[in-house]
């Protein structure tokens, strides 16, 4: 363990007043000095990240200069619209509703997705629901490969590992959702001369849990430096509705409810946060193990997975690579 580095579950505790003030100043300075835009647009889902981001934006520049876009589709969870409306009304920000199902239909998403799942589960069809899952930390799989879980209308569950083509087809189709939503955010941003606020937390940003030019695109990302545990702290500090605080983290992407821990992170966020903090601060696996309920081997496995995901998803963070220098443009 690095000398002098303390580690416990309390390492993620932040000063709410100070952090809110710091982020609010950062937002105002970004808008005024670099982005030169008059307000902020963001997609709101009723989830903790978009809710805290909306609250911070409203705190920074005033509720009249923040617009929340509600963009549900056929597979959205029932509570998405209700909770996002509760948040917008609580904050007093304007909300705009745009159901993207028809746009997804026009892009062929629902057809392409169903075809991709049927290539692995031929019986998949009308009335079936599905989601992608990863092996959990307890399954001790050496390679992190996705499986599709499908449930028939009468409740039968089938799970199949995805091969290359079916995995790529499902991901490519599903990415339409995030990219269409971002297209609408920038439509509204252009219309109002506003900037777009992204809503990833640190775990998502660090580990590449976003779609390139989908939810990964934004002009400012107010909570990308905050561990999810800290996002929840700010949510309480900012007085967000209890229903939002109680909602389990979800991808809200597939027709079957899907936790972020079964889709991408393999363990609950509170544990992932501690592991990520431990990794970032050179804390040895035995110490982290004592505070997370994981074995030292599991912590080491998560440390390796953190590195692998950083490497694999670096592509998502890269700006365009120029074949020749254009030194006049400095970003």
């Amino acid at each position: 363990m690095m000398a002098g580095v303390h580690f416990s579950r309390e390492v993620l505790t932040i000063d709410g007043d100070r952090e809110v003030a710091r982020i609010a100043l950062s937002i105002r300075e970004a808008l005024a000095k670099r982005l030169r835009r008059r307000g902020l647009i963001l997609g709101i889902s009723g989830g903790i990240d978009s809710s805290v981001t909306a609250a911070l934006c409203a705190r920074a520049i005033g509720k009249d200069k923040v617009i929340g876009l509600q963009m549900p589709e056929r597979h959205s969870a029932d509570e998405t619209m209700a909770l996002s409306s509760v948040v917008a009304d609580h904050l007093g920000i304007r909300k705009v509703h745009w159901d993207i199902s028809s746009l997804l239909d026009a892009a062929g998403f629902y057809t392409k997705y169903d075809e991709a799942v049927r290539s692995v589960i031929p019986k998949y069809g009308a009335g079936w629901k599905s989601k992608l899952v990863l092996p959990g930390i307890g399954e001790d799989k050496p390679y992190t490969l996705f499986s599709i879980v499908a449930v028939s209308p009468d409740g039968r569950e089938i799970k199949k590992r995805l091969d290359l083509n079916s995995y790529l087809a499902i991901v490519a189709a599903t990415n339409f959702k995030q990219r269409i939503r971002k297209m609408l955010e920038y439509y509204h941003a252009d219309k109002h001369n506003y900037a777009v606020a992204g809503t990833p937390n640190r775990l998502e940003y660090d580990q590449g849990f976003f779609v390139k030019l989908g939810d990964g695109a934004a002009d400012i990302k107010p909570i990308a430096h905050l561990y999810k545990t800290q996002v929840y702290q700010l949510a309480r500090h900012l007085g967000l509705p209890e229903a939002v605080l109680r909602r389990p983290p979800t991808t809200d992407t597939y027709s079957l409810p899907q936790g972020q821990d079964e889709f991408y992170f393999t363990v609950p966020y509170e544990i992932m946060d501690l592991c990520l903090y431990g990794k970032n601060h050179g804390i040895d696996a035995e110490t982290v193990s004592g505070h997370t309920g994981l074995s030292p081997q599991q912590v080491r496995s998560i440390y390796r997975d953190i590195e692998r995901k950083r490497s694999t998803t670096l592509y998502l963070h890269l700006p365009p690579i120029l074949a020749g220098a254009v030194p006049e443009i400095v970003t």
Binding site: K141, Y143, L145, L164, N165, R308
Partner: protein, 81 residues
């Protein structure tokens, strides 16, 4: 089967290095060397199944079978025989 190593090297060079020459030891871990990641494993499995007309079962998805040119060759020799 004598050409398996050569074929694997051609596949890796073409798929992951765009034809550029890169020295790679037969026992060298493809994951540790940063050559393949989880997507790369899927691409490798797809190639092995199509090129060698085999099916890689879920319980065969282990580094002992897939993590180096030598281990892949040994795995293929077992599967094909």
């Amino acid at each position: 089967m004598a050409d398996i190593e050569a074929e694997l090297r051609r596949f890796l060079a073409d798929k992951f290095f765009f034809g550029d020459d890169r020295p790679l030891g037969a026992e060298e871990s493809l994951v540790d060397a940063g050559i393949i990641d989880s997507m790369g494993v899927l691409e490798l499995i797809s190639h092995l199944e199509q090129h060698y007309h085999i099916k890689v079962n879920d319980d065969e998805l282990v580094p002992e079978n897939l993590d180096s040119i030598a281990s892949i060759r040994a795995f293929l020799e077992k599967k094909v025989s």
